[in-house]
């Protein structure tokens, strides 16, 4: 095919000005993360698909570019840093080194057929605290995410919730109702009241506490520590798929804008799947989205 001028959908080169801009933003992020005590690791651009298979949901499989390499193994191009970091770190971390503060940067490639015109090659910088399951670690990461947005000269809005609440409400119909923001007939009778309140935005931590006491206690502690208006608790913000998140989940917006610039959360079971149990929380900024 004559492809003299075209590039594959969703990728393009950055020329001089755009590259300079990208590098400026990158340098600012890296500087801030290093000052906050995070150390960098570099992860490979391709990896075997097999180690990730047990918890790769349909969506993440659909999003990744995969191929059979010359040795006949199924490999995937990096589409999510977090599980890769867990696989890289888990075999070698020892109890006395924890907690680790790690950051990474690089491209991920995602095939997102639904988002017309969206980039498929995304430059991301992410950070994680590994081996600290405390509320303090949650608060530290939320504050750091807000700080990074402020460093970019923007006002952050960080919307957070705890993913274990919807899990403890049971039934997949509850998740479906919260994802669509509309009640459905399959939500069990004893959950309809709280689900209705969640959808309507009227639910408080007290409403979900009977179903998810641990998450409620944690959210109370986090809300108590993050009192300024940049942090907003949205109890109805629920992911479509369960994924690997186990606790707090958050999305970051800049200047009240319509696009999120970062997202993250806690995944306390992910490292155990690669051999060493360690609680972890992290976030990823997609740099193309921040000036």
């Amino acid at each position: 095919m004559a492809a003299k001028l075209r590039y594959p959908t969703g990728v393009r080169p950055l020329l001089i000005e755009e590259t300079a801009r990208r590098r400026r933003v990158e340098a600012r992020f890296v500087g801030a993360l290093e000052r906050a005590g995070f150390a960098e690791v570099v992860l490979p651009i391709i990896d075997y698909a097999d180690p990730y298979a047990p918890f790769a949901d349909r969506n993440s499989v659909r999003q990744s570019y995969r191929f059979v390499d010359r040795e006949g193994d199924l490999v995937g191009i990096r589409s999510d840093f977090t599980p890769m970091l867990a696989r890289a770190l888990a075999p070698s971390i020892s109890e006395d080194e924890l907690p680790l503060r790690i950051f990474y940067r690089g491209d991920v490639i995602r095939f997102e057929a639904s988002r017309l015109g969206a980039n498929r090659e995304l430059f991301q910088i992410g950070a994680e605290i590994v081996g600290d399951g405390s509320v303090e670690a949650d608060v530290e990461m939320l504050r750091l995410a807000a700080e990074l947005v402020r460093d970019s000269g923007a006002r952050p809005t960080i919307v957070y919730n705890d993913t274990s609440i919807v899990t403890s409400l049971g039934s997949s119909a509850v998740r479906a109702a919260l994802v669509a923001k509309r009640m459905n007939d399959s939500v069990p009778g004893d959950r309809r009241d709280v689900v209705g309140k969640l959808i309507g935005g009227a639910a408080t931590i007290d409403d979900v506490a009977p179903f998810a006491p641990d998450a409620a206690a944690r959210l109370r502690a986090i809300a108590g520590a993050l009192i300024d208006g940049d942090f907003v608790l949205h109890l109805d913000d629920v992911d479509e798929a369960v994924g690997y998140y186990t606790g707090i989940r958050f999305r970051v917006y800049a200047n009240g804008g319509r696009r999120k610039v970062a997202q993250g959360g806690r995944y306390d079971n992910l490292y155990a799947r690669f051999g060493t149990a360690a609680a972890a929380i992290g976030f990823t900024f997609t740099i193309d989205d921040l000036d």
Binding site: A180, G201, H234, D237, Y253, R258
Partner: protein, 209 residues
């Protein structure tokens, strides 16, 4: 400022009626008789786009809120919230064929994605032929063995002497809200949803005998 996308065509009038009943200052017939597609009323901007484009505008944040049929939401794999399901404009997505048509091998449709999912869910295999409109003709002229399309009254199917073979999905229009705006403008969005919900219920009441 909030931007609301109204689908031109089949759903336009009813969608505007709901917003009007909810107390919004919507563009009137005189406005719509012009060729303009964007109307500012107070702090709301109304945009009029082709029905199949509403989910695209909302998903990308170019519009905050919109009215879209489930057919278009599913066809675009649109991840927007769907807080209100409307009672007007309901119809069915159907598998259609000419009487005595050969076994299913080719399907003409405006909804290739939904057609693919339908085939998968039924364990069927067939080639999908994407068309832009007047899809029934494909079955009449034997371009394909079958057709997947929306059926509202069934009149088009009758006129072309076709028959309904299977239901692919029940389709209803919904209020859709972009995920991000839902989080950054939660108060205004929730107020809008509540007003639309109320207007919808009031119109249901008024239809009671």
């Amino acid at each position: 400022m909030m931007r609301i996308a109204i689908p031109k065509g089949r759903l336009q009038e009813k969608a505007l009626a709901v917003f009007r009943a909810a107390g919004y200052d919507v563009p009137g017939e005189d406005d719509l008789a012009t060729r303009k597609l964007v109307f500012k009323r107070g702090d709301i901007e109304w945009i009029f786009v082709k029905d199949c484009d509403v989910p695209v505008y909302v998903e990308h944040g170019a519009a905050d809120v919109g009215v879209a049929g489930l057919d278009q939401i599913l066809e675009h794999d649109c991840g927007a919230y769907q807080p209100v399901e409307f009672d007007f404009g309901r119809c069915r997505m159907m598998l259609i064929a000419a009487p005595g048509a050969p076994p299913l091998t080719k399907i003409a449709t405006k909804y290739p994605r939904m057609a693919r999912q339908y085939l998968e869910s039924r364990g069927l295999r067939a080639e999908i032929v994407p068309l832009g409109g007047s899809v029934e003709l494909a079955a009449v002229l034997q371009l394909t063995t079958h057709v997947i399309d929306l059926v509202e009254t069934g009149e088009t199917v009758r006129v072309h002497k076709l028959e309904l073979q299977d239901e692919v999905a029940q389709i209803s229009p919904r209020l859709i809200v972009g995920k991000n705006v839902f989080h950054t403008e939660q108060k205004r969005i929730r107020e809008l949803i509540a007003r639309i919900e109320e207007a919808k219920n009031a119109s249901l009441q008024s239809q009671l005998p």
